[in-house]
């Protein structure tokens, strides 16, 4: 378009003001796109997890309170006694796919703070339950065979330069027991799973705890992980378990893995609400910033606009040119903000370790990126509308008399 050159010059007329406007829209656009994407990535993970029909049994008092390991066999018995047959069984040998799932929360080597998750599980069935995680057959065999074995996620291995055969000491923080593990395998999985976690044999931890004179903390499964035979069987199983344990000191809360993750997301849910509210406020502020910047620009150019009108430019053309300038500036901000968010997602691996596995993955969904850019264009359009209309509406004669 032939007016573009002129519009671009106008946009660059007051570089500081334009850059400040672009900058504020870029910063807000970046935060909005990144936040929305983070939440959407978490939501997507929960959605995916639903397909695996997994159930997690925890104490009704919360996941910080462990359930006893004895519950595992009670659940198997219950499942059969009630004729539910809800627990999936391994095709090869009919072994029920149920495992303790215990958060260890220790420190790796001499780290002051280890931000990756460590779980005690049953190596025999764990990878049959988490089928999306893959471990080479020989490493899996080694994991099952060796009591002090640990398998680490691909990204954790990369971060800490861990290879098979390495020592993997974990100093107990919650448990008064230090694990002296050896890496026997490195597992992999989809990008959005926590590949910065590690799994070791729950029995190894438990025997260690028992061997200590006090035995404090032993025989606790933490939580119990179950793979169900079908989605339809999840509710009756959960109900049966919770009923059976109700009114005892081991009362449970059984729920799908998706709901379990949801608990952790609960506090971010509130955050999400605040951020959404904040987003509306920020969008409003940006509208004003953009509008005021354009209004100032146009006020300075009152006489010029009058000259253009005298020369024969019509109202809609002036309106269009001013709006185009506003949209250009705001859109540039949106583009930079969204671009930065994309850059962040590309380099998320550098930040992910700090999120303790809660946000292992940041993907900017195309619709969020588009929304970021479209939103900024809209801010330009709406914010620029009033100043544009004003500029176009000043009578030519008055504009020409104005001495600026």
């Amino acid at each position: 378009m032939k007016f573009l050159g002129y519009i671009l010059r106008n946009a660059r007329r007051n570089p500081v003001r334009s850059l400040l406007t672009i900058g504020s829209i870029a910063v807000c656009g970046f935060l909005t796109v990144a936040m929305l994407s983070l939440f959407s990535s978490a939501d997507q993970l929960r959605e995916e997890v639903k397909g695996y029909d997994r159930v997690i049994v925890m104490s009704s008092q919360g996941f910080a309170q462990p359930v006893p390991i004895a519950l595992k066999n009670e659940i198997i018995a219950l499942d059969q006694a009630r004729g539910l047959n809800a627990i999936a069984r391994r095709a090869a040998d009919g072994k029920p796919l149920i495992s303790p799932f215990s958060w260890f929360g220790g420190k790796y080597k001499d780290e002051q703070l280890s931000l990756f998750a460590q779980f005690g599980i049953d190596p025999d069935v764990f990878f049959d339950i988490y089928t999306e995680l893959t471990l080479p057959a020989d490493q899996l065999a080694a994991f099952k065979a060796r009591p002090d074995a640990v398998v680490v996620g691909r990204k954790l291995a990369a971060d800490k330069k861990i290879a098979v055969g390495d020592k993997f000491p974990l100093k107990g923080e919650i448990y008064n027991y230090d694990l002296d593990l050896t890496v026997v395998g490195i597992f992999d999985g989809p990008e959005n799973r926590d590949l910065r976690s590690c799994y070791f044999n729950w029995d190894y931890l438990n025997e260690g705890l028992l061997s200590k004179a006090s035995g404090v903390g032993a025989n606790n499964a933490g939580t119990i992980l179950i793979k169900c035979a079908s989605t339809a069987l999840i509710p009756p199983l959960c109900q049966a378990i919770d009923q059976a344990t109700a009114n005892s000191d081991r009362a449970t809360k059984s729920q799908t893995e998706d709901a379990f993750i949801g608990q952790f997301a609960e506090f971010t849910k509130d955050l999400q609400t605040y951020i959404n509210l904040l987003g509306v406020a920020v969008a409003f502020a940006l509208l004003i910033i953009c509008g005021v910047a354009m209004a100032m620009s146009m006020r300075e150019r009152t006489r010029e606009v009058a000259v253009l009108r005298a020369i024969g430019f019509r109202k809609p053309q002036i309106l269009g040119m001013v709006l185009a300038e506003a949209v250009l500036i705001a859109g540039l901000g949106g583009l930079i903000g969204t671009g930065t968010a994309l850059l962040l997602s590309k380099n998320w691996d550098a930040i992910a370790p700090l999120t303790m596995g809660f946000f292992p993955y940041l993907r900017i969904p195309p619709q969020v990126a588009l929304a970021g850019i479209a939103g900024s264009l809209l801010i330009g359009l709406i914010g620029g509308y009033w100043p544009a209309l004003r500029a176009a509406s000043i009578p030519v004669v008055d504009g020409l008399r104005k001495v600026v």
């Binding site: 002129y6 106008n10 020369i311 024969g312 430019f313 019509r314 053309q317």
Partner: protein, 263 residues
């Protein structure tokens, strides 16, 4: 009358309104300007010269009366029609040049052509030609701040003539210029009037500038009180023209011919 009238004002009145108070500026004014005429409008400050010029150029509308320019009744045109008419047929020259500071000289001149269907190439070419006519060849890529006042006014004149309008309106075009630059601008306007046969209406406070016109009108208290057709044309400023590098031309001959025609 040898030439058809370019501008006819019939019983034109203009008053401004400010908070219920009516400020009459022009009252029942009649005026005829012939095609190819160079009219100078003089008068005390606040007498309504700019107001009259704005009416003739279609920038403002009269409170009552008719304004006919080249057989077109401006008072009957819609806002957008009158905008289009201005872009096609009127060139504007202002006291303060009013160039767009962020555009180069050639871009400033090209600006009115953006409203036409001309190709980019044609636009560039016309802008260059207009700049050549005003003697600014080689200054195409200068920004207004890199030019002197006189040069800026020439760019403004190039912008005014680039669409080849039949009417040029100038509101104190030399008001901000020193003697020398003013003379150059006036030479240029004279040239546009003679060689390119533009009808020019120029508001000025400067009697020396007014002398360059073919006719001088005085506006006072809303009336055209004095319609002086010059009995004697001003002596041609051949020497000055030569000094400033403009081509000399036979001023008196041309003027004489026109005066004859009018009589």
């Amino acid at each position: 009358m040898g030439r058809p009238p370019a501008i006819i004002l019939r019983q034109v009145s203009k008053e401004y309104r400010r908070d219920q108070i009516r400020i009459p500026v022009l009252s029942r004014l009649d005026l005829t300007v012939a095609e190819g005429e160079f009219l100078a409008l003089m008068g005390p400050s606040g007498s309504g010269k700019t107001t009259l010029l704005n009416l003739i150029a279609g920038l403002d509308r009269p409170t009552s009366g008719e304004i006919i320019v080249h057989d077109l009744d401006l008072t009957r045109l819609s806002d957008s029609q009158i905008s289009r008419w201005r872009s096609d047929h009127v060139g504007f020259i202002f006291q303060t040049y009013n160039l767009i500071p962020v555009l180069r000289a050639d871009e400033n001149v090209e600006l009115p052509l953006l409203l036409t269907k001309l190709s980019r190439r044609e636009r560039r070419q016309r802008a260059r030609t207009a700049l050549r006519i005003v003697g600014l060849e080689g200054r195409e890529d200068h920004y207004p701040r890199q030019l002197s006042g006189g040069q800026e006014q020439r760019v403004a004149i190039a912008r005014a003539i680039v669409t080849d309008p039949y009417l040029l309106v100038a509101d104190e075009p030399t008001g901000d210029l020193d003697r020398q630059s003013a003379e150059e601008i006036l030479n240029l306007m004279e040239q546009l009037n003679r060689e390119f046969e533009k009808t020019i209406v120029m508001v000025t406070h400067d009697p020396n500038a007014a002398k360059r016109a073919t006719r001088i009108l005085h506006l006072d208290k809303g009336q055209l009180v004095d319609d002086v057709t010059r009995a004697e044309p001003s002596p041609p400023k051949v020497a000055e023209s030569a000094a400033s590098g403009d081509p000399p031309y036979v001023a008196d001959l041309d003027t004489a011919r026109r005066q004859e025609a009018r009589l």
